[in-house]
């Protein structure tokens, strides 16, 4: 009785806080989805249960369509196993479906049972909440969201929709009712593009192949940070350069699309999966980025960050986490979206800023500037991990750095333009910290002030804490330029914050040591949907139902 009473108090406190924060932030904001008719490369996976002719069939499955061609794979009991039977067809020739049996009699029976009640070609539409023919009777529940479709002697009910990459919503639970037959599909996840091609299809193969890599020269660090303190020569990246790097990753290096760029055995997942180093280092990485005048100018002149600094941070980390933890199609979707955003960011510096002359041209898609943005992320994550978790060996740092090169390539940066190993990478960081390339401009100061300004009463303490942590961890020259103090008061507060964080880490349930997106990626690898508190965190922080599932 006492236990119930105690937990009830905790729950009450929590509920009051949650209600005060506003119920709107508990679930993903609603949005008008794109029409699923615009999908030409997509796949969904889940489970099916069919009852017809007195027989019941159950199996996991995936349905994939590439342009006109589709395949419905029967997986049996393993949600991420290899197909045991595959129905193949063309949406324009639905009468010519074929069945390939790879793994045995049971899978063949399920596939034939399904074929006896419907064409898989029709499923290619119904599974997306679309009518297969113009004869269908459709009841809508919102723009591009069907509630019920009556077609081909089926009444098809769409009970739940899931948000997926690319502003689509696809049905998560579909019930088919027919005469003495019914089918239920439970969809776990979906991919909505980039299954066969890693980049947009505006360029020919010849144009991409003709792109010449802009290497870093014999001394990569000195190419990036010239000894005389001058600005490095700009090296712009166009769409062909970008696509060439993406193709290298997509085509040659990573065969398992479900795992994505890294996977659970990688150093990347080990280091960035821990919640505390990332959250403690976020301010440091952002202020190091903004100390580069190009980055500041790009944000100041082209971004809504001034009105919504947290939003910018959220979008930045959304893409970083999507690339780190996403499946291969999700990685490519994020890389292409970031490139599109960067493509529009160009201009001329409004004032002389350290190594950069007034009026000099800047662009977001430029190798030197992008390498700096990348460097702030990886150097910070190792710096904070070693401080808050455990020291890393040289071998582990080298391995981690090799993995970060894949990340850089996703932004069009050729491997040859990057420092060769961890030690050279740190030489580059130290050279940048001392270089006039990093100069805090008045615009950067304003961004810093906006970043640490609490947007609501609930953010006062986290923002105050983040400013002290950032002040403690920034390289001294950059901290001084930002006019941030790190005296006895800040040191004392940082001391108890680290102790508090350590205590919180000990108090939290074990599975909360790792951040929510890590758990979401693990669920994907097991063919499951995320749920519980980690789902709550993703919707609360990113305002999205899912990032990498």
């Amino acid at each position: 009785m006492n236990l119930l009473s105690s937990n009830a108090k905790v729950l009450l406190v929590g509920l009051v806080l949650v209600v005060l924060q506003g119920c709107s932030s508990l679930k993903e904001s609603d949005y008008v989805p794109k029409s699923p008719e615009t999908l030409s490369e997509w796949m969904v996976e889940g489970s099916l249960e069919l009852r017809a002719d007195g027989v019941k069939s159950k199996s996991h499955f995936y349905f994939k369509q590439i342009d006109e061609n589709y395949e419905l794979a029967i997986l049996g009991d393993d949600p991420v196993g290899k197909p045991k039977a595959v129905i193949l067809g063309n949406i324009y020739e639905p009468e010519n479906e074929t069945l390939d049996v790879i793994g045995g009699y049971e899978a063949e029976k399920v596939a034939q049972h399904l074929q006896s009640v419907m064409k898989a070609g029709s499923l290619s539409y119904w599974i997306r909440g679309l009518p297969a023919t113009a004869d269908a009777k459709i009841t809508q529940q919102g723009t591009n969201l069907a509630k019920k479709i009556e077609e081909d002697n089926w009444k098809i009910y769409f009970h739940d929709y899931m948000s997926v990459t690319g502003n689509y919503k696809l049905p998560a639970e579909i019930k088919f009712n027919g005469d003495s037959k019914n089918l239920r599909l439970d969809i776990v996840r979906a991919e909505t593009g980039y299954l066969t091609n890693p980049c947009g299809q505006n360029l020919t193969d010849e144009e991409i192949e003709a792109s010449v890599e802009q290497a870093g020269g014999e001394d990569v660090v000195r190419t990036l940070v010239p000894r005389d303190g001058s600005a490095p020569l700009p090296r712009w990246i166009d769409e062909a350069d970008f696509c060439k790097q993406l193709r290298k990753i997509h085509g040659n290096q990573l065969p398992d699309a479900r795992v994505g760029l890294y996977g659970p055995d990688s150093m990347m997942w080990r280091l960035s999966g821990m919640a505390l180093p990332g959250s403690f280092g976020a301010g440091r990485a952002l202020l190091l980025q903004v100390a580069h005048p190009w980055v500041t100018a790009g944000i100041d002149e082209h971004s809504v960050v001034r009105n919504d600094p947290l939003g910018r941070a959220r979008r930045t980390f959304y893409h970083i986490l999507s690339v780190t933890y996403g499946s291969m199609p999700q990685v490519m979707a994020s890389a292409n979206q970031v490139r599109d955003i960067h493509e529009e960011i160009e201009g001329h510096l409004p004032e002389e800023s350290g190594a950069f002359a007034r009026g000099s041209e800047y662009r977001a898609n430029e190798i030197n500037a992008m390498i700096w943005v990348h460097a702030t992320l990886w150097e910070t994550i190792v710096h904070m991990y070693e401080k808050m978790e455990e020291p890393l060996t040289q071998q582990e740092k080298d391995r981690f750095y090799e993995e970060t090169k894949l990340f850089a390539m996703l932004f069009g940066i050729p491997e040859s333009a990057l420092p060769a190993d961890w030690n050279e990478f740190m030489d580059y960081n130290r050279a940048m910290w001392a270089s006039p390339q990093l100069t805090v401009t008045p615009a950067a100061m304003r961004l810093k002030d906006d970043l640490f300004k609490a947007q609501s009463i609930w953010m006062i303490f986290p923002m105050w804490g983040q400013e002290i942590i950032t002040s403690a961890e920034l390289p001294p020259r950059i901290r001084d330029q930002y006019d941030m103090k790190y005296g006895w008061w800040q040191k004392m507060n940082y001391g108890w914050m680290r102790a508090g964080a350590w205590t919180l880490g000990a108090l939290l349930p074990k599975n909360m040591e790792r951040q929510a997106v890590y758990h979401e990626a693990m669920a994907r690898l097991e063919g499951e949907r995320l749920g519980g508190v980690n789902q709550f965190f993703i919707e609360a922080f990113f305002d999205k139902e899912r990032l990498v599932n």
């Binding site: 006492n2 236990l3 105690s6 937990n7 108090k9 905790v10 729950l11 406190v13 929590g14 806080l17 949650v18 924060q21 506003g22 709107s24 932030s25 904001s29 949005y31 008008v32 794109k34 029409s35 008719e37 615009t38 999908l39 030409s40 342009d67 949406i91 324009y92 009518p131 113009a134 723009t143 502003n167 299809q201 505006n202 809504v304 919504d308 939003g311 959220r314 979008r315 959304y318 979206q337 599109d340 955003i341 529009e344 947007q455 609501s456 609930w458 953010m459 303490f461 919180l504 108090l507 939290l508 349930p509 909360m512 508190v533 709550f536 965190f537 609360a540 922080f541 990113f542 305002d543």
Partner: protein, 183 residues
């Protein structure tokens, strides 16, 4: 037993506190829905809106549509509406990095009769929603070179959105021609 209960309570409170701390304010979507598809169709057809038709996007029609778009069209078929020679199209097209949804109604003479921005999903450039701007498209036809028959005065700061609207307008006219030409 008391210690265990206390421990359980502290853990639960830690989870809730963390949840509240990470909750941000505001939504992640920059989106404005100006018009529902039903309202757009009512502008084209009045009270008698026809049922949907489906067009497989293949062959020559696909080639022409992709030529005016300047890129591959993602999707294997299009939903549209037709009645007495008037067709209506709802098409998604990317402006900067997000798609906008545009509705276009074309009269039997092959002229744009209705053009509406249904959904805009970017933080900037939504000025193309202004009626005075969209009015420029009314009466435009398709030239022999599959271009719009008239010039459109752009909007400063909304260049990409204007370009996207031009592309979709031309594509809808190509699709209308294809419907008219079909038996």
């Amino acid at each position: 037993m008391r210690a265990i209960r206390g421990w359980a309570s502290i853990r639960a409170l830690s989870v809730l506190m963390l949840a509240v701390i990470v909750m941000p304010a505001g939504a992640a979507y920059d989106e404005t829905e100006y018009l529902k598809p039903e309202a757009f169709l009512a502008k084209v057809y009045g009270e008698n809106v026809p049922s949907i038709s489906l067009m497989p996007l293949r062959g020559d029609t696909r080639k022409r549509a992709e030529a005016v778009l300047g890129h591959r069209y993602s999707g294997m078929r299009l939903r549209y509406w037709q009645q007495d020679g008037t067709t209506a199209w709802i098409i998604d097209e990317k402006s900067k990095d997000m798609p906008m949804t545009i509705g276009i109604g074309i009269n039997p003479e092959g002229e744009i009769a209705v053009i509406e921005l249904l959904v805009y999903r970017e933080p900037r450039g939504g000025e193309i929603h202004q009626a005075a701007f969209r009015k420029q498209y009314l009466g435009m036809r398709l030239t022999e070179a599959d271009a719009l028959s008239g010039q459109v005065d752009g909007i400063t700061g909304a260049t990409l959105s204007v370009d996207a609207l031009n592309r979709v307008a031309a594509m809808a006219l190509v699709l209308h021609q294809s419907v008219q030409a079909s038996p």
